[in-house]
Amino acid sequence: MTTTIIKTTTRLLAPLILVFGSYIILHGHLTPGGGFQGGAVFASGLILLIVANVRDKVQKLFEKTPLTQLESLGALGFLGIGLLGLMSYTFLKNAIANSGFLFGGTTPQGINPGYLNTGGTLSYLNIFVGTKVLAGLTSIVLIFFLILRRERDEW
C-alpha cells in the first residue's frame, strides 16, 4: 500500500488533517465537534501516515512515541478537572468559567462571533479527551497494522 500516489497525497494531506483536528479540539466549546471528534480527526491523520509507510519505519517511529502515557494523561487530566469541580459544588462543576484564568474569559450572552478564551473547564476537558482519543485510536490502528503487516510478510 505504499505507492507513490499515496505517499505524495499523504505528504500533502496529513499536515492539513492534523491542523484541522487540533482546530476542532480547541474550538470544541464554540462550534460543532469537540474532544472526541477532533481527536478522531487527528488520529486519522496519524493513521494515514502509518498506513502509507513501510512497517519498519513506523515501528521505529512509534517505539519512541509515548502513546500509552498520553492516553493515561488524557484520562487523568479529565478526572483531575472533574475533581477540580469539587472545590465549588460537585464533581465536574465548571469551576473555571468566568474566573479570568486561561479559557476563563467572560462568556457573552446570545449570538456572538465566538471567543476562544471562554468555556472554562469545557475547553480543558476537550483538550484532555482529544489527547486520549487520538492516542487510543492511533494505538488501536497501529497494533493492527503491526500485527497484520508482519503476518503478511510471513505468508
Binding site: 493515561s72 484520562a75 487523568l76 469539587l86
Partner: protein, 517 residues
C-alpha cells in the same frame, strides 16, 4: 468530603485504572497499587452504606447543585446526569468493591507468570468502576454507558490469556452477547426518551404510562438484563466466560453479572412498579425463569468434567434462586397483606442470596483456580488425591461447597431457607424444584471433592505444594465471611439486606422527588 462519596466511588477506581498503565513493567508495583486502590474503595463503600442507612437516599448531581433546568416558561425538567444511591445500590457497591479487593489480592500471585499485567490491573479497576457506576446511577443512559464499560473491560479480561485460542473465543462470545444486550437496552432507553423526553429514572418512573410501547421497552430491558445475568435459556456465555477468565477476575466478573441482575430488579421495581396490572405477570415470568435456570443449570453441571465449567453452571443455577426469591416478592408487591406475610422475606432471601452467592462462588472458583495453578489442568479426570498436598485449599473448598449446598451453618443456608419457605407460600411446586436443585448441587460438589481432593495420592503430583500466600489469604477471607454470614445471618439481614429490600419495595421513595427537586 462525605457528600461527594458517590462521585468518589467511581472516580477512585478510574484514577487507579489510568495510573496503572504508567507502571509499565513493574508488575509488583502495579499489583500492590491495585490492592491499595481496591482496598480504599471497600472503605468508601462501607461509608456510603452507613450514610445511606442513616440519612436516606443520596442524590448527587454532576456539574451543578441542582438536577433541574427551569426554562424561562417555568417548565422544569431534570436534564443533568445524576447518581441516586439507595440502600440496594449501596449493598451492591459493597459486594463489588469487596470482590474486586479479594480478586486483586488473589491475582497478586495467580497471574504472576503472565505478561501485560499493567493492563490486567487497569482493566480490573475499570471493571470495578463500571459495576459501581451501574449500581449507583439514577439515569437510564448512564446505566447503558456503565453496562458497556463493564462489558468491554470484562470481555477484555476474559480474553486476557491471548496465548490460548479458547480465551479469545470466550472473549468474543461474551463481548458479542453483552454488546447486543446493551444495544437493545439503548433502544429501550431511546423509546423512553422519545415518549417522556427524559432519561432520569425517577422522572420516567413517575410519568410512565401503561401503553404498548412502554411494554415493548420493558420486554427489551427484561430480556437484555436477563441475558446479561445468565438466565436460562440465554446462559450459554456464562460457562465460556467464567471458565477462561483468570481466576482472580472471577469475583468481579460475578459481581458484574449480578449488577445486571440489579438492573433487572431496578427496572422491574423502580421503573415499572407503578403499573399495577402487569406486575404480577412480570413476577411470574421471573419466578418461572428462575426455576428453569436453577434446574437446567444444575443438571448441566452434573455432567461437566472441567472443574471451572462445572462451577460456572452452578453459578447459573444459583442465579435462579435469586430470580425466584425476588420474583415471588414481585408477584405480590401490590398485595400488602401477602407482602408482609411472605413477599418481603422472599425478596430478602433473593437479595441475601446475591451477596452469599458472590462470596461462596468466588471462593469456589478461586479454589478451582488454585487447582489449575498447581496441577496445570482443569480436567477433573486427571486430578486426584490433592487434599494432602493442599490442605488450606481443601478446607476452603469444603466451606464453599457446604455453603453452596445450603448446609448450616454456612451462609447459603440462611438465604435458601428464606427462599424455600416463602416460595412454598406462593406455589409449592417452585419449592420442590428449588430443593431438588439444592440436592443435585451437593451431589455435584461431592463429585468434585471426591475426584480432585480425595483418593490415593497420584505420582504426577508428587512434589506439588500449597499455593502461594496471597492466594491463601484471599481464599481464607472469603471462607471466614462464609462462616460469619452463616452463623449470624440476622445481623447481616438487618444491617444490609432488609434496608436494600425496603428500598426496592418502597419504590415511591426513590422517585418521590419526581425529578423536580
Amino acid at each position: 468530603m462525605i457528600e461527594h462519596l458517590p462521585a468518589l466511588m467511581v472516580a477512585l477506581p478510574l484514577f487507579g485504572a489510568f495510573i496503572a498503565p504508567l507502571f509499565k513493567k513493574h508488575y509488583k508495583g502495579v499489583s500492590i497499587w491495585a490492592i491499595f486502590i481496591t482496598g480504599i474503595s471497600v472503605v468508601l463503600s462501607l461509608l456510603l452504606m452507613k450514610e445511606v442507612v442513616t440519612n436516606g437516599i443520596i442524590m448527587y448531581v454532576f456539574g451543578a447543585d441542582k438536577p433541574t433546568l427551569v426554562l424561562p416558561s417555568g417548565y422544569a425538567v431534570p436534564i443533568r446526569i445524576m447518581f441516586e444511591v439507595d440502600a440496594m445500590g449501596a449493598f451492591m457497591a459493597i459486594s463489588a468493591t469487596l470482590m474486586s479487593f479479594v480478586g486483586a489480592i488473589y491475582s497478586y500471585s495467580h497471574v504472576k507468570k503472565d505478561t501485560g499485567l499493567e493492563k490486567y490491573y487497569a482493566l480490573l479497576m475499570l471493571l470495578e468502576a463500571g459495576i459501581l457506576g451501574m449500581v449507583l446511577t439514577g439515569d437510564l443512559f448512564n446505566l447503558f454507558v456503565f453496562l458497556e464499560i463493564a462489558g468491554i473491560a470484562g470481555s477484555a479480561l476474559v480474553g486476557f490469556r491471548n496465548y490460548r485460542g479458547e480465551a479469545s473465543e470466550a472473549g468474543i462470545k461474551y463481548l458479542m452477547v453483552s454488546s447486543v444486550a446493551s444495544l437493545m437496552v439503548l433502544f429501550a432507553v431511546g423509546i423512553f426518551y422519545g415518549q417522556y423526553g427524559n432519561l432520569n429514572l425517577a422522572y420516567i418512573a413517575k410519568n410512565v404510562s401503561f401503553n404498548m410501547v412502554d411494554m415493548i421497552a420493558l420486554g427489551l430491558l427484561f430480556a437484555s438484563f436477563a441475558m446479561k445475568c445468565g438466565a436460562v435459556p440465554m446462559h450459554y456465555w456464562v460457562p465460556d466466560a467464567y471458565t477462561e477468565v483468570p481466576a482472580g477476575i472471577n469475583p468481579p466478573l460475578l459481581v458484574a453479572t449480578y449488577a445486571s441482575l440489579y438492573a433487572l430488579f431496578r427496572v422491574s421495581f423502580t421503573l415499572f412498579a407503578n403499573v399495577v396490572i402487569d406486575l404480577a405477570r412480570v413476577g411470574w415470568i421471573m419466578s418461572i425463569l428462575g426455576v428453569l435456570t436453577m434446574f437446567i443449570g444444575v443438571t448441566m453441571a452434573l455432567i461437566q468434567k472441567d472443574v471451572k465449567r462445572l462451577m460456572s453452571y452452578h453459578a447459573i443455577s444459583q442465579t435462579g434462586y435469586m430470580l425466584l426469591g425476588v420474583g415471588v416478592g414481585l408477584t405480590v408487591l401490590h398485595d400488602p397483606s401477602k407482602l408482609a406475610e411472605f413477599g418481603r422475606d422472599a425478596m430478602a432471601g433473593g437479595v441475601f442470596h446475591i451477596i452469599n452467592h458472590i462470596i461462596y462462588k468466588s471462593l469456589l472458583l478461586m479454589t478451582a483456580g488454585a487447582l489449575f495453578y498447581v496441577t496445570g489442568t482443569r480436567n477433573l479426570n486427571e486430578m486426584g488425591g490433592l487434599a494432602r498436598k493442599m490442605p488450606i485449599t481443601t478446607i476452603s473448598f469444603m466451606v464453599g461447597a457446604a455453603a453452596i449446598s445450603g448446609l448450616p451453618p454456612f451462609n447459603g443456608f440462611a438465604s435458601k431457607f428464606l427462599i424455600y419457605e416463602t416460595s412454598y407460600r406462593l406455589n409449592p411446586l417452585l419449592t420442590v424444584f428449588a430443593m431438588v436443585t439444592s440436592v443435585l448441587t451437593l451431589a455435584s460438589f461431592v463429585k468434585v471433592f471426591a475426584s480432585a481432593f480425595l483418593g490415593p495420592p497420584l505420582e504426577k503430583f508428587e512434589n506439588k505444594r500449597e499455593v502461594p500466600k496471597p492466594m491463601i489469604v484471599a481464599m481464607l477471607i472469603l471462607a471466614a465471611l462464609c462462616i460469619l454470614f452463616g452463623l449470624f445471618p440476622n445481623v447481616v439481614l438487618d444491617k444490609l439486606v432488609y434496608p436494600a429490600v425496603d428500598a426496592l419495595i418502597n419504590f415511591a421513595q426513590y422517585h418521590s422527588w419526581g425529578g423536580l427537586a
